[in-house]
Amino acid sequence: MNNKNEMVPCVKKPGKRRYVWRILSRGLIFALPLLSGCTGEKARQLATAATLFKSNAHDAITAMRGLMDAQIAPTVKTDTQRADQFVSNILSLPVAAPLDSNMMDMAIDPYSIKLSSAEIAARNALLDNLDQEYVAFASMFDDLERGSFLAAKSVAKTKTYAATLTAQMSGIAKVVADNPPELIQQRVAVMTQIQKVRKDQTLTADQKRQQLSDLLNLWLGVKAQEGSLQQGVVSKCLIAASSGQSVLQLADSYDRLSLDDINQLTTGMISLAAQVSGKNLTDLKTQNARIQSFLAANSDYKALADSALEKIQSQLISGAK
C-alpha cells in the first residue's frame, strides 16, 4: 500500500511544469491550422487540382500539335495507290533524268510536305515551352501538403500565374474557334477530282451529275473532319481553361474555403470533360466567353488578366514591326 501511495502523485497529480509541457505540445499543433486557415487535406486538393490543370493543358497542347500537322498533311493512300503512283511517276521522267534517293522518295510520295528545320524548331519551341509553363505551375504545389500550415502566403502568390495560364488557354480556344482549321491537301484532292469530271468530254451529262454528287459527299466529309478537329482543340483548351479557373478560385480562397467547397470545386474539375463533350462550337464559344467574363468581372483577376493582355498586345506589336 505504501508503495502504491508513493506512486500516485507522479501519475494522477502532475506538476505545474508538466501541464505547461502538455499545453505547449497541444497548443502548437492546434494553433498552426488556425493561424493559416489551411489543412493538409485542403493542400492535397489544391495540389491535385494543379496537377489536373497541367494534365488538361498538356492534352490541349497535344491537340494543337495535331491540328498543325493535319493542316499540312497529305491524303492517306493505300499501298496499291502508292505503288501505282510510283510507277506512273518514274515512267513520266525522261530516261536521261538522273535518279537519286531524293528523287525516289519524291516519286513514292510527292505530296508530303518538308518543313524547314527552322520552322520545326520554332514550332517545337512554342509548344514545348507552353507545356513547360503548366508543368512548372503544378510543381509549385508539390510540397504544399507537407507545408500546408505555413505556406498560405506563398499560395496567394500563385494566383497571378493561375490567372495568366487560364487566360492563355481561353485565348487559344478563342483564336482556334475564330479561325477554323483547313485540311488543305484533302480539300485540294477533292477539287482536283471535280476539275477532272468537269473537263472530261467522254462523260455524259448524267454521269457527270452522278460523279459530282459523289464528290460533294467527299467534300462534306472533309468539312466534317475539319469541324471535328476544331471542336477537339477548342474543347480541350476550354477544359484546361476551366480547370485553371478552378485552381485560381482555390488558390485565391485557400485560407477561407471550407473543405466541402474545395471538394465541390475539384469534383467539378473531374467532370469538365463530360460537361463539354458533344457540345457544338457555339456552345463552346459561349462557355469560353463565360471564363473570360469571370476573369474580367473580379477586380483582382481583371488586373491580372489586363496585365496578361498587355503582354500579349506588346508581343503582337513587336511581332508586327
Binding site: L32, M140, L144, K157, T164, D178, A189
Partner: protein, 98 residues
C-alpha cells in the same frame, strides 16, 4: 477575330497545291520547293496565331521556381515544428518532474 495572315497563307497554299495536283511529275519536281514554302507559311501563321495568346515569360518560370522554394521551405519548417511538438509530447510523458 479572324486573322488575315493565316487566311491568305491558306489560300496561297491551296492555289499552289491545286496546280501541283494537276501537274505531271516532272513539273511537280519543279513546283515542290514553292509548294513546301507555301505550306510552311501556313504552319508559321498558325504558330503565330497561337503564340499571340501567350503572355508568359522566362522570368515568370523563375518566379514560380522561387515560390516553389518558399513552399518547400515552409514544408521543412513545418516538419521541424511537428518534430518539436513530438519532442515536447515525449518529454511531457517520459521525463520525471520533481
Amino acid at each position: 477575330m479572324n486573322n488575315k495572315i493565316i487566311d491568305d497563307a491558306k489560300a496561297a497554299a491551296e492555289a499552289l497545291d491545286l496546280a501541283y495536283n494537276q501537274a505531271d511529275f516532272p513539273t511537280q519536281i519543279q513546283l515542290k520547293p514553292s509548294r513546301d514554302a507555301a505550306f510552311e507559311a501556313v504552319d508559321a501563321a498558325e504558330r503565330t496565331l497561337i503564340g499571340s495568346q501567350l503572355a508568359f515569360t522566362p522570368a515568370n518560370i523563375s518566379e514560380m521556381a522561387g515560390i516553389r522554394g518558399e513552399i518547400e521551405k515552409a514544408a521543412d519548417t513545418q516538419s521541424l515544428i511537428v518534430g518539436a511538438e513530438k519532442l515536447v509530447a515525449f518529454l511531457a510523458k517520459n521525463v520525471p518532474i520533481a
